[in-house]
């Protein structure tokens, strides 16, 4: 009886064997392959890569299978692998202006250089369950354009010509380095670079809810989608021995530039301000939520009142990481006998004292 409470090695081994069995499921059905996950559950792979902070479709797909489809568990697996990788340097900033665009929409301009491109979107689909998919439907090849796509400058760059929107703040000085939250512990207050890093790997659901809260009046920021673009960009790396940048390959990213009204303050004239979102893979929901949160979190910088949860940097950044959150919430199922014993003692003592006093 007493020992059974304490668990043991055999119990752990058996539990893991059962888990592996449940993961595999009915052996008469074919096992999932990594290729199937990459090709047919691509958006799940994208989320595991984005919040796992590791661009590797195969490993993300493996993690999804291993996690039985639990995406936060898959993200955790990816992170725990990523953290062991040596860092040999930092790439050049990617240039989303030179993206090979698959989707690009702007809500602020009807037409613009480069055009609007719908791409593979759920928008305007009717959400009716389609039984043909279950029966293994034959999907015809999609139409493709045969013209070379014209140059599609970023909407914010177009607005910047008129000075209507705050400028991007490029790293002009050599001493301006971008922080790295995976190498340096976060110290509040944060600069925007670190905030954006944290947001980029933050939980989609958490950021969605916070972004939503800004639309419902908790730090309203009058946002417009200046532009969302999805496509592949080249990652370039400066090799010191060579003296020039080499391409490491292409990654698919989703970028959202939110344009927000700003009445101006003592420090800044009236102009449009920006909220920025950038996510691995295809995830508009995450990129849009991220840009709403980014804008809300700039309250201090822009001299706005800080009154809502989405503007509270310590609150948002401390709680957006789902690997941290799930670990700490779920650690409550670990034994706490020792502390509970101390509390039992205390409650008994206090009850006895109260009873004594009553008598």
């Amino acid at each position: 009886m007493y020992v059974a409470v304490k668990g043991g090695e055999a119990a752990i081994a058996n539990a893991h064997a059962l888990l592996a069995d449940r993961r595999r499921g009915d052996r008469s059905l074919p096992a999932l392959g990594i290729g199937q996950i990459i090709e047919q559950l691509g958006l799940a792979v994208d989320r595991a890569m984005a919040e796992g902070s590791l661009y590797d479709r195969e490993l993300a797909a493996l993690a999804i299978i291993q996690a039985r489809g639990d995406l936060i568990e898959a993200i955790f697996l990816v992170r725990a692998f990523r953290t062991t990788l040596p860092r040999f340097g930092y790439s050049r900033p990617i240039d989303t202006g030179r993206m090979l665009i698959e989707r690009r929409v702007s809500a602020t301009f009807k037409d613009l250089p480069g055009g609007q491109v719908l791409g593979p979107t759920f928008d305007y689909t009717h959400r009716l369950l389609d039984p043909e998919i279950a029966s293994g439907d034959d999907v015809p090849a999609p139409a493709t354009r045969d013209t070379v796509p014209e140059n599609a400058p970023r909407v914010t760059d177009l607005l910047a010509h008129e000075g209507l929107i705050e400028p991007d703040n490029p790293l002009d000085n050599a001493e301006d380095t971008v922080g790295d939250l995976t190498r340096e512990p976060l110290q509040y207050p944060l600069d925007r670079d670190l905030r954006l890093q944290a947001l980029a790997r933050g939980d989609e659901g958490f950021l969605l809810a916070l972004g939503y809260s800004t639309q419902r009046g908790y730090a309203r920021s009058h946002p417009f989608v200046g532009e969302i673009r999805i496509g592949e960009v080249e990652v370039e790396f400066d090799v010191p021995e060579l003296g020039f940048a080499v391409s490491l390959g292409r990654i698919r990213v989703t970028e959202c530039q939110m344009v927000n009204q700003f009445k101006g303050s003592a420090k800044v004239p009236p102009q449009f301000t920006r909220g920025y979102g950038l996510v691995f893979g295809q995830s508009e929901r995450k990129a849009m939520s991220m840009s709403l949160c980014d804008r809300a979190l700039r309250a201090r910088e822009l001299g706005e009142d800080i009154s809502a949860p989405a503007q509270d940097e310590e609150f948002v950044i401390s709680h957006l990481d789902n690997v941290q959150a799930t670990g700490f919430v779920e650690h409550l199922k670990l034994p706490h006998y020792v502390d509970f014993q101390a509390e039992l003692d205390l409650v008994r003592k206090m009850r006895a004292e109260q009873q004594e006093a009553a008598e």
């Binding site: 062991t84 690997v323 670990g327 670990l334």
Partner: protein, 293 residues
């Protein structure tokens, strides 16, 4: 598939270990001060000992002998899991004997047997900030530590006395280190606080999710906060361990049936087993303890 994943000795890469060692050295130099460090994701969840595991991974060598306890016990599932982790990734010898271990990683307890010089006790810490539940903001609590402004903590303890007649904190009971920093001893019962004082062992505290490391070098003064008229006192149990008859040790209450029957047994399983091997017998000893394992 990308290259098959392979892992370094003790899981972490060497640069990361160096970074953690630097944080540990700083922590030892400023006892009780929380040193921020760039905590890594570990292959176990946050809140399950990632801070302690990183500290252990940074200091463990091939010749170390590791003991891992959770709630005082070596056979608690999470302790088993962490011990197996290091046996696998560092191939070190493990033990359940307190005196035989060079590194002891613990969650929520300090072993009953006094530690000796040369041993390292690594604590897993969930919330390293003793002031966190009084002030949720890191920017504020950092300032309070810098200014040695601990009035809020004393007010909290005073309010306990005013309301209950005694201090109603039973674990994670705040301590003051060398008259300077107020420190969270991790959620050990206050019963264990006196063991931290002037311990010949090195005590390291790792909080992974909160990215903090702090330390008590050997022979550091550790004083539990109290008032002159309400001195600090530890828990006392009315009965000895039902298995080994030990007194003056921390006991777990084990429920025996649904009629309110219960027994008290040692939380420190190694100490209890050793005493029974020496022939000590408690009131309920004689059960086949291996049953149910």
């Amino acid at each position: 598939m990308s290259a098959a994943p392979s892992y370094n000795f003790a899981y972490l890469d060497e640069q990361t270990k160096r970074m953690i060692r630097r944080a540990i050295l700083k922590a030892i130099a400023i006892p009780g001060y929380q040193v921020p460090f760039a905590s890594r994701e570990m292959p176990m969840p946050y809140g399950w000992g990632t801070g302690g595991v990183q500290v252990t991974a940074a200091i463990i060598g091939a010749n170390d002998v590791l003991k891992v306890i959770d709630q005082g016990a070596d056979d608690t599932t999470n302790a088993v899991s962490i011990r197996a982790f290091f046996a696998k990734v560092a191939r070190v010898q493990t033990t359940t004997h307190t005196h035989a271990a060079s590194i002891i990683q613990t969650r929520h307890r300090i072993p009953e047997k006094p530690l000796h010089a040369g041993q390292v006790l690594v604590y897993q810490v969930p919330i390293p900030e003793p002031l966190r539940f009084l002030e949720p903001r890191e920017t504020e609590t950092r300032k309070m530590h810098a200014l040695e402004e601990y009035g809020l903590m004393h007010v909290k303890l005073y309010e306990d006395i005013a309301r209950h007649g005694h201090i109603a904190t039973t674990f994670a009971y705040p301590v003051k280190i060398e008259g300077r920093y107020v420190m969270d001893p991790s959620p050990t019962p206050k019963f264990d606080n006196p063991k931290m004082h002037m311990s010949p062992a090195l005590q390291l505290f790792g909080a992974g999710r909160e990215m903090r490391i702090y330390a008590l070098p050997p022979f550091t003064e550790v004083v539990s906060l109290d008032f002159e008229d309400h001195p600090f006192e530890i828990q006392h149990f009315d009965q000895p361990c039902a298995l080994c008859a030990a007194t003056g040790v921390y006991l777990d209450e084990v429920i025996l049936d649904d009629q309110g029957g219960h027994m008290f047994v040692c939380s420190d399983t190694d100490n209890c087993e050793e005493r029974r091997a020496q022939g000590h017998r408690g009131a309920l000893a004689g059960h086949r303890l291996e049953a149910g394992r």
